[in-house]
Amino acid sequence: MLRSTDMIRFSWQVLVRHRFRSGMILLAMALGVASIIVLTALGEGARRYVLGEFSFLGDDVLIMLPGKKETTGGLPPLTGIAARDITLEDAQQLKHRFSGIESIAPIVLGSAEVSFQQRSRNITVLGSTSDLVTIRQLTLARGRNLETIDMGRASDECLLGQTLVEELFGSEPVVGSWVRARDYRCRVVGVIEGRGDAFGMDLSDTLVISVASAQRLFDTPGLFRIIMEIRPGFDMDEAKARILLIMKELHLGEEDVTLISPDALLSTFDNVLTAMTLGVAAIAAISMVVAGVLIMNIMLISVSQRTAEIGLLKALGASARDIQQLFLIESLIMSFAGATLGVMAGFGLVLTGRVLFPEVPFYTPLWALLGALTIAMIAGVGFAWGPAKQASRLLPVAALYQRR
């Protein structure tokens, strides 16, 4: 029986001696492992990025959109009439009739040219109420929130996003200044801190005014959507049912709105993105199999090149098992070294990605790392098994007296 240290040393000498061959296997293995690490990091990064974008909304928030999104089949509407708008009055009625609503932020969206003195920019104008700040958990860098008034009343107070402030005001004082959007003038009472982002919408480049003013500005009776926060402890399903019922009454018996809860939305995204990560991981795993096949080929060539040596080892007292083990260990050393290189290269790339794109949280999940290493080892040993077996079965005579 060979001592294991001797076995490793012997295999190591073989590998060092055949540098090119070893290098190729090493490269294939390293690429396979690195691609699993990098691809899962991309997938997981995307997942975390999207979840992060939505996480500002608590799980007690409901979003109402105009129109019924049919996802359960059934006949399409025969009337051909567009869905009824959700109006400000609907929002008022909801708040009035259903005590489960803690706060409610109707939203009107439009774009307009906003100017301060000589400077102007074409940006998004968002009409809402002071509740927007609470529901979206926005922080104000300066000033205060919009005044809390009846949502039917137009107000001349507004909030500005930070980018807009920098571009319109520069270093001039903001709070208390008047800005103009078309023929509407409003007084800045506060500045929203950071991006305040959500749904990929960047509030840093936005003017927030009262909803009634926005409806007048854009001349629209309809709301883009309503965001509601349900009172703590209130059952979300019941709240949904109650809200839909009220809307049905308000809309003459027709259920023509859609209610979305962010956690449902999130879990859908989560599922899709997890599936995507698994998908790319599987693709990367295929590259490991390719690496394995390469190992098998190179090992087969190695066996046929080293028949004389194999015969000699047998003549010197090596058993078939010794020979097989020598070949397996050789492959194992290669796989291990290749996998280690791959892990280093993979994490190097992931770290580089984090530096280059700090907003995306690239991250290789532990299962991917362990999976990559396991597959590398299995591919290394599994694909070397056949050639090793073949080597061990070589008749020593045939091997020794082979004409060369």
């Binding site: 001797d6 012997f10 004389a308 010197l316 007292g317 090596a318 008749l395």
Partner: protein, 237 residues
Amino acid sequence: MIKLSDVCKTFYLGDQAVHALDHINLQVEQGEYLSVMGPSGSGKSTLLNMIGLLDRPDSGSYWLSGTETAQLPEVQRAELRSQHIGFVFQAYHLVPRLNARENIELPMMLAGVKPAERRKLAQTVMERLAIGHRAEHLPRQMSGGERQRVAIARAIVRKPTILLADEPTGNLDSHAGEEVMRVLEQLNDEGITLFVVTHDMKLGARAKRHLRMVDGQIDADRVVEGNAIDSLEPAGA
């Protein structure tokens, strides 16, 4: 002690059966010096491989110091080989990437001997064969005679009871060949059983027992006193 009884081995070249060993019966006592001669393809090398446990008989039995080996599993045959048999080949068969000492240590490594002990034993054998100064040299840095002496050192370092030499001087000039033969014969004097397979009549005649093989059979088996070349039947008879 070696005993072969009715050992047969047949190879197939396409459809044609070649009886490399055809009912071989042979008994060899410890310490004998045998030469095996005969035309190419007469089964000399097959006989050597059979005795060296590199090959397995199709039928018949082979006792090696009291153990019937024909039916033994491969692991145990390898073990017997490691304990009893030393091989010396015409083409040396040194591992090119290993230096002289590592080549000599190879059978001990395969047997699991500790590194320190291996080194000591290898050193002793190398000094005995006058290649101590070549310990760290690779095979390609050595002459043919030195290579063959490294191969002999490797064959005897485990203190085998049987030394099997297949054309040991075939690749050497007469001077180096003579030196190698002297080393082998000295080992025989110390009690090792020595087989020399050769085409060279002069070389074969040095042995004390001459086997002549034709078509897989032992055609002649003579014990000779002294070194009489004429006691051997002329080749091709």
